[in-house]
Symmetry: C2
Subunit: 151 residues, 2 copies
Amino acid sequence: MININIVCVGKLKENFWKEAEQEYLKRLSRFCNLKIIEIEESNQIQIEKALEIEGKDILSQIKGKTYLLAIKGKELSSEDFAKEIENSKLESSQLTFVIGSSNGVSQEVQKNLPNKISFGKVTYPHNLARVILLEQIYRAFMINTGSKYHK
Amino acid sequence: MININIVCVGKLKENFWKEAEQEYLKRLSRFCNLKIIEIEESNQIQIEKALEIEGKDILSQIKGKTYLLAIKGKELSSEDFAKEIENSKLESSQLTFVIGSSNGVSQEVQKNLPNKISFGKVTYPHNLARVILLEQIYRAFMINTGSKYHK
């Protein structure tokens, strides 16, 4: 079973996001070992400094093939994303997805994670971005197993 | 205050989606009169037939300037979407957004609603699509009022 890590900055506040996350973790447990790694949001007032601190923590958690979610990354359809996951499984038993804070990620993280993917030009809050990523990972497994979930 | 209608097919099942919807409706009540109009999902087995029935109900609920959410629609950023809403307010006091079922919408709806917008190439389940739309409408008001919510 593939290991998937989602490295993200900050906690989910609202209960409904936590429950959505739990629901997708439950559904995904059939297909992968999924781990959510929450990096502490830096309380530095200077944004650059905060991103730098968070960035070090992010980079310390990278395992296997890694994707950075970035609005200007390579835009994928759900089918493209499913293929990515399928191909990555052949290369690596570990897969990591990184979601930055609402201020993005440091230059260091940008430089170290060249695989940038995007689910669209739209900006999402980090909590919703996490749920969207979980849904797309679940959809990818549904596509790759030929389920009716994806039409 | 502008009237915004979201016409969508089917109900939200999981409680966490309902709570997410309620949270955004609460936040949006400062900016608009938002109404969610749920069209009953047709139980016709034949997809074309089901879409036709749902389509008639959808079209009966259209008011003012109308947008159909479609994966192949014009892809917008959050800033583009905010401008759309700002401009639409000058044209009309009513704004309608249509989200189809998991099988899409009928040819009739496609033909009658030429303003097709997309938040990306990715496919979402209808419940998550509704929450994403609500978040983007909220973000649009935040952008248009110069709030810090959108960075």
